[in-house]
């Protein structure tokens, strides 16, 4: 027991670890919330493309302004918005569907970004952006993450009903006077904010894991929208914190450990959760007619 206690407290004596812990918990909460909305709105692949497409924006910002946090943030944000606009154009003006447009664009942008970044940054910096380095976070990075988490929490609280309708039934949302397009834009905008915030900690490639894994884990446990959001935020915070400690003690990259830890929780849930595979195998789904209602889906 005392070993466990030490395992948890010893890293906290280091200033950078204490900061990393705060950032991890904040990112976990924020990522779980954003991820749940993305998964329920079926935008997880779009968010993945965003994550990759941010790279050239960051690379160009690095080229222009050096490793300035604000510049990187704005660069990433601009790249995300350009990707969204370009893929909307592709979808409207060609026969390509939305997922194909995003897919085609993001590999192009990722290639450009990787090429630029390899010329301007040291190789260590490149892997830093690809896979993250939470132990190298500065105070400014932590403030940025805190700001983005606050924005996310406020957006979810104020827009809860709009988000619910937008994710579940856009047609009804619109018919009930809801700002469907505005809600959609806000979802994408907050997703980009969170991606940029998560970049330092876990990197472009793994950032999505921080969003999607808590969300799909929660989906395997919850039958209510509100509890699913809450569970995803909790799983995100706890799971990535476990990953952070493992990364410290095993001297492994933080991003990989955080996402890996979330991945293990997800796999266990998929196997043994109430909506998991074991339940399905042991107890086959009931027929609706057994519930005493004569009508049946066609």
């Amino acid at each position: 027991m005392s070993e466990m206690f030490l395992w948890l407290t010893e890293p906290m004596s280091q200033r950078f670890m204490a900061r990393a812990l705060v950032v991890t918990v904040l990112l976990g909460i924020s990522g779980g919330l954003v991820g749940s909305v993305l998964v329920l709105r079926r935008l997880s692949l779009v968010a993945d493309s965003f994550g990759h497409a941010l790279l050239p924006g960051i690379a160009i910002a690095y080229l222009v302004a050096g490793p300035s946090l604000v510049a990187l943030f704005l660069g990433g944000l601009t790249a995300g918005l350009i990707t969204a606009a370009a893929s909307a154009l592709l979808t409207r003006l060609t026969r390509l569907k939305e997922d194909a447009s995003f897919g085609a664009l993001f590999v192009c942008l990722f290639a450009v970004g990787a090429a630029i970044l390899s010329r301007v940054a040291a190789p260590a910096d490149l892997t830093h952006y690809l896979f993250g380095n939470i132990l190298g976070l500065g105070a400014a990075d932590a403030r940025l993450v805190a700001l983005v988490t606050t924005i996310t929490l406020v957006a979810v609280a104020l827009g809860y009903r709009s988000l619910l309708l937008e994710c579940f039934d856009r047609g009804f949302h619109r018919s009930a006077g809801g700002a469907s397009v505005m809600t959609h834009v806000c979802i994408l905008l907050v997703a980009v904010l969170n991606l940029v915030a998560a970049l330092q900690a876990v990197g472009v490639v793994l950032a999505l894991g921080l969003f999607i894994l808590p969300a799909v884990t929660a989906a395997l446990w919850c039958d209510r929208f509100a509890t699913q959001l809450f569970t995803a935020a909790t799983v995100g915070a706890v799971g990535s914190t476990i990953g952070l400690f493992i990364s410290y003690h095993a001297n492994l990259p933080s991003g990989a450990c955080m996402v890996g830890s979330l991945g293990v929780i997800f796999l266990l849930s998929a196997l043994a959760g109430p909506h998991g595979m074991l339940v399905r195998l042991v107890r086959p789904p009931r027929h609706l007619t057994e519930d005493g209602h004569e009508d049946c889906a066609g």
């Binding site: 709009s162 579940f168 066609g298």
Partner: protein, 257 residues
């Protein structure tokens, strides 16, 4: 100006996507308590007409409710989307879906008042889904989900309902049950229901009115006249309507109004 009882009036309505009109020159009059089928082949403008009513598409002409433009009565119109487009694994219970009907009235943050809860309860009672209240929507049949969506529309406080293909994917007993319910629902409470339909054999004896489209208006009015075999043949073309018509004309003979 429309007659007092003619609640819903389409006056020479032409709606377009971009510059191409998708449905044009539609005129029709629907009294209170009418259950109206919107019929026509694919691409005839059935859904377009619903979208124009919702104010989602620009249109020329007039759509009037009680003599006033429909846009001024937006809260009296409720839209019931196709079930196919919904994610039935979404983490919601029946009661939560019906409660969504009150969101517009109470806004983003306010809690449910006693009146809001009463409206939700009344809608649940009227659609007969009280015993399903706490059930996740993933464990509903198609007919049950359709009733939940109707209850949500009812909870908004609307009295004009636009149903986009409500019968799709339902088996024959569920269709009958739903149509019986819609019929009672409409006539007992002086509501108006417009339903986009694909199957002509569901018309009689449930629907009182029909609006037959083929990008232009083929016919509108009481179902026996507007959806007569000649009119349907005109809308659907001889080949398509041929296998349907004998059954329909048999059923059509039983229409009572």
């Amino acid at each position: 100006m429309a007659h007092h009882h003619d609640l819903l009036v389409f006056d020479n309505v032409t709606a377009s996507y971009g510059r191409r009109p998708a449905v044009h020159h539609v005129s029709a009059v629907l009294p209170c308590g009418s259950l109206c089928a919107i019929l026509g082949p694919n691409g005839a403008g059935k859904s377009t007409l619903l979208k124009a009513m919702m104010g989602w598409l620009p249109f020329e002409g007039r759509i009037l409710i009680d003599g006033l433009p429909a846009v001024q009565h937006r809260r009296r119109i409720a839209y019931v989307p196709q079930r196919d487009g919904l994610d039935t694994d979404f983490p919601l219970t029946v009661e939560e879906v019906v409660a969504q009907g009150r969101f517009q009235a109470i806004g983003a943050l306010a809690g449910f008042t006693a009146a809001d809860r009463a409206a939700v309860d009344a809608a649940i009672q009227e659609l007969g889904i009280d015993d399903l209240r706490q059930r996740p929507i993933s464990r509903l049949s198609g007919g049950q989900l359709q009733r939940v969506l109707l209850a949500r529309a009812l909870a908004t406080g609307a009295d004009i309902f636009l149903l986009d293909e409500p019968l799709n994917g339902l088996d024959v007993p569920s269709r009958r049950e739903l149509l019986d319910q819609l019929r009672r629902w409409t006539t007992d409470h002086e509501r108006i229901v417009l339903a986009v339909l694909h199957d002509l054999d569901c018309l009689a004896p449930w629907f009182s009115h029909a609006l037959v489209l083929r990008t232009h208006l083929v016919a509108a009015g009481p179902v026996a006249e507007a959806a007569s075999p000649e009119r349907l043949r005109e809308a659907f073309g001889a080949e398509v309507a041929a296998p349907v018509l004998p059954r329909f004309s048999l059923a059509g003979a039983t229409v009572r109004r």
